[in-house]
């Protein structure tokens, strides 16, 4: 049965079941999108039973039950305290963070949960989106790799809840017996939630190593897991790849870290289960762990109070644990509208895409707004506070709106509007007029969170994707570290689009809806070269010349850099608390002119500098004797140049008073020098001091600082 037909049939079954039950109590504890399944409306409004079969929202996780019986809904349940609620006792808990539980439930279970006094709130397990070198040195990680003893993330678990991992990739293997062959795997465990029904399939390190030893791939061996999307492999490569598959030195941030990979279905309950799985494995091994979540969506209050975010915050609240979340790539996607309550009225348009649209609106509790929605065909629906429209067939599409029908949200006391548009023509315009009571503070915020609709007008502020607004997590935006690269298809040049050092337009902006600074910091995210999954098919333009790495962009990549950096910190101190880690990272984050123009909402506290963080915490010698001279490094992105040469520097910027880049001709004569103090990159236009172009040939270069000299590098100018 195809996914759509299955969903439609289940939806119909759920609705018939719900209607037969009549009005259900405790609906205020149930997310508005789930209330459509319960098929009831509060007494304060005219009850409108669904006149058409909408089916469950596309974003909600639903599975067929055992033997094709009653369909199951994925739920996240927040309880009053850590002991299970009565209604949960009969259910199978997929994961529990303490007061947040991930479960599968029937409609009957959902009704029981809604009526259970110990249940605070029930949220659907919603679909979120996956988010899509130079960079490792740029964050100071190479300096930690270079000191003696090197700090490379040994003894730390890096967990990725993502699209999976190419477990056979050499970047995740190591040579344990010293025979020159990387027969061992750094992957401690794989959980593929998409295989084998509700429970998924688990593979151990031994399973992986057995298949590697026998030369069996995913179709033949024990491990049936693969990563067709390649995203999880790329993220893991950035954070914990050792670059051994390539001669290009594409080493990840924490190349000695252990890895736990979860291939998730990207539903919020599964994500929570995945995080807990990583921490469980780490606890079994007695190791600290950092979990990377390069994913997110926009359903939620954007203030850290969604059940998923509360669960994540609980999971991270322990020493030796950290969770890093990508900020999101929606700053330029026109998915957010905001209006100060004090303005009294405003209007925005929803420009429908070719998919079903779900939108959430939030505004401060204690205030009231009224919505007037005009369909593309001109039908007008008035939606006052504490009302629900029911399912309305309008000229231009089907509309369902729940405007705080059960009162203010139990999660945060604010008011939520849930709006769903189905069967609208692509590019059709729905107009939403908002009238507020002109409260002095607070905003009305609206986010598209399902479908490909856009808002007009829109704002980039407050576009941090959930769960990036959660407390106890480190939320990461992107910077640009590469705008051109060599690929299998030749040079790719995006310098007209991306300016190295700056923040890309896609990187989601803060603050959170409750005014906290997010993202916490920014890290390299644009066109990062990292491990490429064998199972993914990419255009040659995105494949590195070594064919084992690929280029990808997004705050996902930024989060992976920070996850790797956190692994380095945890390898230095396995008992660091999440807030200590966050404080270390943000207090040592750097700012420079290239992000100075960015508002704090975009850059957070600055660019990640893990070297500075390690020094700040006293893990690395603060003095100048040891081993800084070995830490002065200069590299070229491409040693073959014809018009410009782009140098990347690695040295303790904050403690170096002078840094001179020197370039020598083949005989060793000084041909060019430039003061590069305080800079991490420099582009030489290949013009000599006397104004002539440097002739073709071999050149040497080095970086001279007052803390030491770099190794001599070589480059070739080919006119």
């Amino acid at each position: 049965m195809s996914g759509n037909r299955l969903r439609g049939a289940m939806g119909f079954a759920l609705l018939v079941f719900a209607v037969s039950l009549g009005v259900v109590g405790g609906q205020e504890k149930v997310d508005p999108s789930l209330r459509t399944l319960l098929g009831a409306a509060p007494e304060t409004t005219e009850m409108t039973l669904p006149s058409v079969n909408l089916g469950p929202p596309a974003s909600v996780e639903i599975r067929e039950g055992n033997a094709g019986s009653v369909p199951l809904i994925g739920l996240l349940v927040k309880t009053r305290n850590r002991s299970d609620a009565e209604s949960l006792r009969e259910l199978t808990i997929r994961a529990s963070t303490g007061t947040v539980h991930s479960i599968w439930a029937t409609m009957e279970d959902l009704i029981a949960l809604a009526e259970d006094m110990d249940v605070v709130y029930v949220e659907p397990s919603r679909k979120v989106n996956v988010m899509v070198d130079k960079s490792v040195p740029a964050i100071g990680a190479s300096m930690l790799h270079a000191i003696k003893p090197p700090i490379r993330g040994a003894g730390v678990v890096f967990g990725a809840v993502d699209t999976g991992i190419d477990y056979a990739h050499l970047d995740f293997r190591y040579d344990a017996d010293g025979d020159g062959f990387e027969e061992s795997s750094r992957i401690l465990s794989i959980w593929d939630q998409t295989l084998g029904g509700v429970a998924g399939r688990h593979y151990s390190q031994q399973d992986v190593e057995r298949d590697l030893a026998l030369g069996l791939d995913w179709s033949e061996g024990l491990v049936r897991h693969r990563d067709p999307e390649g995203h999880g492999t790329h993220v893991a490569g950035i954070a914990a790849g050792d670059g051994s598959s390539s001669p290009y030195g594409l080493v990840g941030v924490a190349p000695d870290a252990w890895i736990v990979a979860v291939r998730t279905s990207f539903h919020s309950a599964n994500i929570l289960s995945g995080i807990q799985y990583v921490f469980d494995i780490a606890e079994r091994e007695g190791l600290p762990a950092v979990v990377n979540l390069s994913l997110g969506g926009h359903d939620g209050p954007h203030d850290g109070t969604s059940v998923l975010e509360q669960g994540i915050a609980e999971l991270a609240d322990a020493p030796g644990r950290a969770i890093v979340v990508s900020a999101g790539n929606e700053a330029n996607k026109a998915i957010h509208w905001s209006m100060p309550m004090s303005e009294g009225s405003g209007e925005f348009r929803v420009i429908a895409g070719d998919m079903e649209t779900e939108l959430c609106m939030w505004y401060p509790g204690g205030e009231e707004i009224e919505l007037v929605i005009t369909s593309p065909g001109g039908d007008v629906v008035r939606v006052p506070y504490a009302s629900v429209t029911g399912v309305r067939e309008l000229e231009g599409g089907i509309l369902y709106v729940d405007h705080a029908s059960e009162g203010n949200s139990i999660l945060n006391g604010d008011c939520e509007v849930y709006l769903r548009i189905v069967d609208s023509l692509e590019d059709a315009i729905w107009t939403i007029d908002v009238t507020s009571d002109q409260a002095e503070t607070g905003n009305v915020d609206a986010w598209i969170y399902s479908g490909d609709a856009t808002l007009d007008p829109s704002t980039s502020n407050c576009t941090i994707a959930e769960p990036g607004n959660a407390r106890n997590v480190i939320t990461v935006g992107a910077t640009i570290t590469r705008a051109w690269w060599r690929s299998l298809a030749g040079w790719q040049d995006f310098r007209s689009v991306y300016e190295v050092g700056c923040i890309p337009t896609y990187s989601s902006m803060g603050p959170t809806r409750d005014g906290r600074v997010k993202p916490d910091l920014v890290a390299p995210g644009t066109w990062i070269a990292a491990a490429k999954s064998e199972a993914t098919s990419l255009r040659d333009e995105y494949i590195h010349p070594d064919e084992t790495h690929a280029y990808d962009s997004g705050t996902s990549m930024s989060a992976a850099h920070v996850s790797g950096a956190v692994a380095l910190l945890l390898s230095l101190d396995p008992l660091l608390f999440p807030d200590e880690i966050t404080e270390l990272l943000i207090s040592t984050a750097t700012t420079d002119p290239s992000i100075g123009a960015s508002p704090p909402a975009k850059s957070g506290w600055g660019k990640l500098d893990i070297w500075a963080a390690a020094r700040e915490a006293g893990y690395v010698d603060q003095g100048g004797d040891d081993p800084n001279s070995a830490l002065v490094r200069v590299d070229l992105r491409d040693p073959l140049v014809n018009s410009t040469a782009e140098f990347v520097f690695f040295y303790p910027i904050e403690s170096v008073r002078s840094a001179i880049l020197r370039i020598f001709d083949i005989s060793g004569r000084l041909a060019f020098e430039a003061d590069v103090g305080g800079r991490s990159t420099y582009v030489w236009d290949l013009i000599l001091p006397r104004g002539e172009p440097a002739p073709s040939g071999l050149y040497f270069y080095l970086l001279a600082t007052d803390r030491g000299l770099s190794q001599v590098g070589r480059m070739v100018i080919q006119r």
Binding site: D638, P639, I666, G668, E673, V712, R714, Q718
Partner: protein
């Protein structure tokens, strides 16, 4: 007849010098040839224009080839500044010299990409006396080929002159009088460097087996990037020690002579953090070898 020919040669050389002097100075293709070929002379700061002898004259000043009195072969090797292999092999005799140079960088790995630089040079030189015991002239043909990262070929012709006044010698070389540079990616041509260099050398025999030589050069005299170099060596019997300085840095060297064989070593200490680079060479005087064979046959 000889007098007009000498005048013609000298006039041609002077005109070449003037042409280079008034032309715009451009940097050029032949970077391999800036490395020099002789560990002996590189140990003196590369001051070979007035001081080159034997096989070194092929490279440094072919006008000195007429004073070479036997055929010699030599081969040198250097791990240039720790990362580039550079070797030469050559043969030279009276009036004629040939030298082959080979440089290979090995893989040069960048953060995102990798390359290699591999180039070969051939130097063919001729020298003749204009005024015996006073002046001689010569011409040097340089062929340069790169095979990595791309294949390119170029050549240059360099006339030169040597003047002798007892123990004092002067040398002049005019580089790139005629040349063909490398084709560029944009369809242009990257010319060879045109330059004029002059040098003075003085040799003083202290006793039967002891000798002192000093030399100085001014390179690229008409350019803003002109450079001075100075060097000296002391030979006592089979051992020679030398020192010199030029734009690359301070150089020291030594030679050991044993019968028909000579071993040269030099070390150049680069400036501004470049580190040191060592070279060594083995040379064999073929006349001594042939004479030995002849004596054996007799």
């Amino acid at each position: 007849m000889a007098q007009p020919r000498r005048l013609l040669v000298l006039t041609t050389l002077v005109l070449c010098v003037l042409a280079i002097a008034i032309s715009q100075q451009v940097r050029a293709t032949g970077s391999l040839f800036e490395l020099g070929s002789s560990p002996r002379l590189q140990g003196m700061g590369g001051v070979g224009l007035a001081l080159a002898s034997g096989a070194d004259a092929t490279y440094y000043n072919p006008a000195l080839l007429p004073s070479v009195d036997s055929w010699r072969v030599s081969s040198s090797y250097a791990l240039h500044f720790g990362g580039v292999s550079y070797g030469t092999i050559g043969i030279a005799g009276p009036h004629l010299g040939l030298q082959f140079l080979l440089l290979d960088s090995g893989p040069i790995v960048g953060m995102d990409a990798e390359t290699r630089y591999s180039t070969q040079g051939l130097v063919g030189s001729l020298g003749t006396r204009i005024i015996p015991g006073v002046a001689s002239t010569g011409v040097r043909l340089r062929l340069l080929r790169t095979t990595a990262p791309t294949r390119k070929l170029g050549w240059a012709v360099d006339p030169c002159l040597s003047l002798e006044f007892g123990s004092l010698r002067a040398g002049v070389i005019v580089e790139g009088v005629a040349s063909r540079g490398f084709a560029t990616r944009r369809g242009g041509n990257e010319p060879w460097e045109q330059s004029v260099s002059v040098g003075l050398g003085y040799t003083l025999d202290l006793m039967e087996d002891a000798r002192v030589a000093v030399a100085a050069e001014l390179r690229d005299v008409f350019s803003t990037s002109r450079e001075a170099a100075i060097g000296a060596e002391v030979q006592i019997d089979w051992l020679t020690a030398r020192v010199g300085v030029d734009g690359v840095g301070l150089a020291v060297g030594a030679s050991f002579t044993a019968r028909e064989m000579e071993f040269d070593y030099c070390c150049v200490f680069g400036r501004a953090g470049m580190g040191a680079s060592s070279r060594m060479r083995l040379g064999i005087d073929l006349r001594s070898v042939f004479r030995k064979q002849q004596e054996t046959q007799d």
